[in-house]
């Protein structure tokens, strides 16, 4: 069976029909010869049916939320409502151009205005820019805001950002991108920020502190007030990596408890689809004093007439996206929030937390869990028992889960937990589905003892068997060798 779309190519075959030309002309007469490509790009020549067969076949080789539980910790793989998909495909959403006259965009601008407001309310922030297109870009924008704030106040020495060693990789990477030096703070034994150690590293050079809360261990950083006081003490700013907002909504407004800036991941907390890796949306929210630094434009209104507001252009960090960010994703989040309302939002949080604690309880007898306390919306177990006892790694456990129809948890993160298994069931899973996931985890714990070979060979039932990552790096086969005609 042909495996690559290129293998299906047959000279002259067409996948689409295009209008007949109603204007005469010849490209060679219109454009200077030297600019004309010498050799055609060998895109595949296939029929529409070929394309459908090929990509539908590929689709059947994926795990996805509607196939089974997807407990990828930190990623909040909740159900993506189908009504969102239906509504955003309206022609008045997908066929609008960013430079249309404002009069023809009032529906869109009104939605964005409301979304800014709703996200501000949920986060307790003064204002939100919807522009960053991913969490990492939200971080970057946030760090640029920190820089702009300090620049505005005349600081020249604020070159460092502190973050805990449990932080997600994007945090230090964003710091570097924004020109900051990273101070990595070792976590306390209870998995939280070590406030005493923090005191030691807080100096005038510190521009800010980046924290995930609940942190990547699924634990709420209860001393956030102390932390923010310390940072604010040197006129630093406290940044919340909002990846875990699914544990806070309706219960805590980060902007009210010491955080100055946060980013949202609409593709996590607000149910927009992950899309196989994106597009997401990473709005950034700030407290009042930082509003002037937000990216341009914001959406504002006077007397019910909505417009793109560039008025803070001078103080703004500028832009992180060509236009206004991932609008199609914002629409989905907007619909989601409107359908939840205040009660629903809080309910999401409660159920996410209950589900996580319930699952933790079920598997706790079989897997080591470093931090023995109630978790928030996710928890980190690990495979150290299995490793020590039977030489079974977390990778083996993850692969075996695939055989049982589940996606694996996030593995080997956070880095401070050996053999980490970071589990986030989300609120859209039912008790029954969590029960069956727990059963699978428990079976695997049994299999570790009885048939460790089974785990080392896992997965057995997937479209391909265990994939050799190292080989991929060795041979670096990153494009298909197309036959030139």
């Amino acid at each position: 069976m042909a495996d690559m779309i290129f293998d299906l190519s047959v000279k002259g075959r067409r996948g689409v029909t295009l209008p007949k030309r109603d204007i005469e002309g010849e490209i060679h007469q219109i454009l200077p010869e030297k600019f004309i490509r010498k050799e055609a790009a060998e895109l595949p020549e296939v029929s529409e049916l070929d394309v459908m067969r090929h990509y539908i076949r590929l689709s059947h080789r994926n795990h996805f939320i509607e196939k089974g539980l997807y407990p990828l910790g930190s990623c909040t793989m909740k159900y993506n409502p189908k009504i969102n998909e239906a509504l955003v495909r309206h022609s008045c959403f997908n066929n609008i151009h960013p430079y249309q006259a404002i009069e023809t965009l009032q529906g869109t601008l009104e939605i964005l205005y409301e979304l800014q407001r709703d996200l501000s309310e949920i986060s307790g922030m003064a204002q939100v820019s919807l522009q960053p297109v991913a969490g990492a870009q939200g971080e970057f924008a946030g760090l640029k805001i920190i820089a702009a704030y300090h620049k505005g106040k005349g600081y020249t020495n604020k070159k460092k950002i502190i973050l805990p060693d449990s932080a997600h990789g994007t945090n230090p990477a964003s710091c570097t991108l924004a020109g900051y030096e990273v101070i990595e703070l070792p976590s306390r034994a209870d998995g939280r920020v070590d406030v005493e150690k923090l005191k030691e590293v807080v100096t005038d050079e510190v521009a800010g502190f980046m924290l995930t809360n609940p942190n990547t261990l699924g634990l709420f950083e209860s001393q956030i007030r102390e932390i923010s006081d310390l940072i604010h003490g040197v006129d630093g700013l406290v940044y919340l990596d909002g990846a875990n907002l699914n544990a806070l909504m309706g219960i805590v407004q980060p902007g009210k408890i010491g955080f100055d800036i946060l980013h949202f991941n609409l593709h996590k907390t607000f149910s927009t689809p992950h899309g196989g890796g994106g597009p997401g949306c990473g709005p950034v929210g700030v407290v009042k004093k930082l509003v002037p630094f937000l990216p341009v434009p914001l959406v504002d209104q006077t007397d019910g007439e909505f417009f793109l507001d560039y008025s803070h252009q001078e103080t703004s960090i500028g832009k992180v996206h060509t236009f206004y960010g991932n609008y199609a994703i914002m629409l989905r989040a907007y619909i989601y929030i409107k359908m939840l309302g205040p009660d629903g939002i809080r309910h999401i949080t409660e159920n996410a937390i209950i589900n996580a604690n319930y699952l933790m309880k079920l598997i706790a007898p079989y897997y080591h869990i470093e931090h023995q306390e109630y978790c928030m919306h996710e928890f980190v177990a690990d495979g150290t028992l299995q490793k020590k006892g039977h030489g079974i790694s977390t990778l083996d456990i993850a692969k075996r889960l695939l055989d049982k129809g589940f996606h694996a948890p996030t593995v080997y993160f956070p880095l401070i937990i050996n053999e980490a298994l970071m589990v986030e069931p989300t609120e859209t899973e039912s008790k029954q589905s969590i029960d069956s996931f727990a059963t699978a985890m428990i079976e695997i714990a049994e299999e570790t003892k009885k048939d460790p070979e089974l785990l080392r060979n896992a997965p057995l039932t997937t479209p391909v068997k265990r994939v050799d990552d190292a080989h991929a790096v060795k041979i670096l086969d990153i494009r298909y060798p197309i036959n030139r005609q």
Binding site: D3, I5, G15, L18, I23, I30, P32, A41, L43, Y55, S59, I65, E66, Y79, N80, I83, C92, I96, H97, P98, Y99, T104, G107, D118, E121, G135, G169, A178, L219, I224, R225, H274, G277, G278, I317, K319, T322, F323, A328, I337, K338, L340, G341, G344, I345, N357, K361, Y374, L402, F413, E427, V464, K465, R466, V467, D468, D469, A472, R479, Y480
Partner: protein, 448 residues
């Protein structure tokens, strides 16, 4: 409650199993004084019936380009997206999956990315491409940063002919980390080669050439390339419209080192300018400096062909502050749309799209420049599918007057400093009647 599976009874059972009395017991770690008092100030919940009505009301306040005759472009183009594209990208198998971390259950995603990389290489003539960037603007910014990683030279030359919105993003990405951006002046709508030559020296890390440039004009890459490469260090970053590559030179032909661009035009609807997606390709010697995800072919334990994320040691989740980029989530589904689109178009279809866009744009330009009071802003520059027109009255006035007819004549260049210019884009979707309608109304509004 929408989307919450558990019933009250489930919750009760679960709390009991956990060993707590109530939910409150689970969040003891959150000090009470940090908690929200009362309800959030949000609109009350709407059911699916109600949200459908609300959204219907909102859509009625927009006038989309399907109901209008639009010549807007400037980075987001209304090229044809076959319905078959959405059939694929709307499959939950693709859109509810995440980054293919577990390769064994992500072969679908991994393979299409591999195919995407191949197609981008094919279009650009490059050797390696990644799995997508946020947009064309940030792709240029990341290209500049990659050039710095490669040659350690922290100066980049940005000609005036680069999209001003891109420049804003590039500034944001490069400010404050010691990178100096130098503006190269243009003449007659393209980079002035003499001026560029004057700016060049051994400290310049990269020169960015956008072609077709912001105004739609084709830069004279064959004249510019030797200037850029004269010192043997400076890297040439080409920013290109992928559709143009069907007929215009593959950047490899003019020895570009890094090729980036905005990919939206390939299979993605305009959506008010987002999501967009950047493509990013280069020569193989920069493979380990690339930002973003890369998929590679490999084998499974039985030796069967398979795909996996590769060169991950560049990425933030492994290298953290030393990573080549902070990018994590990217624009994968847009890349899928582009992959399906390129497959549907194929070798000939994409050429036909590029050719029709060019021919039609030139027809329209010819007609407009013949009108009294109108002229081409850059009459000597060859252009692809977009061009700038000098207008006899402020462009804003023209736009306003055509609004009631749902005719969007182009982008008001007042945004970019010239209030008597319109930038007009034409795609294969326009027909002669559409264009003639624009020509006629341009005559009318001038007088009206």
């Amino acid at each position: 409650m929408p989307y919450i599976a558990n019933t009250d009874a489930d919750r009760q059972q679960m709390l009991e199993a956990i060993g707590v009395k109530s939910f409150e017991d689970l969040i003891r770690a959150i000090p009470v004084e940090l908690r929200v008092k009362g309800d959030l100030d949000l609109d009350p919940a709407l059911s699916e019936i109600e949200i459908t009505r609300l959204i219907h009301e909102k859509t009625c306040k927009n006038i989309c380009t399907q109901a209008a005759n639009s010549f807007l472009g400037a980075g987001v183009y209304d090229h044809f997206v076959p319905a078959a594209v959405d059939t694929i990208i709307s499959r939950p198998e693709f859109f509810t999956a995440y980054t293919p971390y577990q390769a064994e259950v992500s072969q679908g995603t991994l393979q299409y990315i591999y195919e995407f990389q191949t197609m981008i290489c094919e279009l650009t003539g490059m050797e390696i491409a990644n799995a997508s960037m946020y947009d064309g603007a940030s792709a240029i910014a990341e290209a500049i940063l990659m050039a710095v990683r490669k040659n350690r030279l922290k100066k980049a030359i940005l000609p005036e002919s680069i999209h001003p919105e891109y420049v804003k993003v590039i500034r944001c990405y490069t400010e404050g980390i010691g990178i100096e951006l130098i503006t190269a002046p243009c003449a007659y709508g393209v980079i002035d080669p003499d001026a560029l030559e004057g700016l060049m020296n051994e400290t310049v890390g990269s020169v960015i050439i956008q072609t077709p440039n912001f105004w739609g004009n084709m830069e004279d890459v064959f004249a510019l390339e030797p200037i850029v490469h004269s010192n043997g260090k400076t890297l040439l970053i080409a920013a290109v419209d992928p559709i143009s590559l069907a007929v215009l030179n593959a950047p490899a032909e003019y020895k570009a080192d890094i090729v980036v661009g905005e990919g939206q035009a390939m299979g993605n609807s305009m959506y008010f300018g987002g999501p967009l997606f950047g493509f990013f390709a280069s020569k193989l010697d920069m493979a380990r400096q690339m930002p973003g995800r890369i998929v590679g072919g490999t084998v499974d334990h039985e030796g069967k062909r398979a795909f996996a994320l590769t060169l991950q040691a560049r990425e933030q989740h492994i290298r953290r502050d030393k990573a080549t980029s902070n990018i994590c989530s990217n624009q994968a589904l847009c890349a899928l749309a582009a992959t399906v689109w390129m497959s549907l178009m194929g070798r000939e279809g994409i050429r036909e799209i590029a050719i029709q866009s060019t021919i039609k744009a030139h027809y329209l330009a010819d007609r407009i420049k013949a009108l009294d009071g109108y002229s081409l802003a850059y009459p000597t520059a060859p252009f692809f599918k977009e061009f700038v027109v000098n207008t006899p009255i402020p462009a804003a006035k023209i736009i306003q007057r055509l609004l009631p007819r749902a005719l969007y004549p182009g982008v008001d260049m007042a945004r970019f400093g010239n209030d008597r210019q319109l930038m007009i884009a034409v795609t294969e979707k326009k027909n002669k009647k559409d264009m003639d309608a624009l020509v006629e109304t341009l005559v009318e509004v001038k007088n009206g």
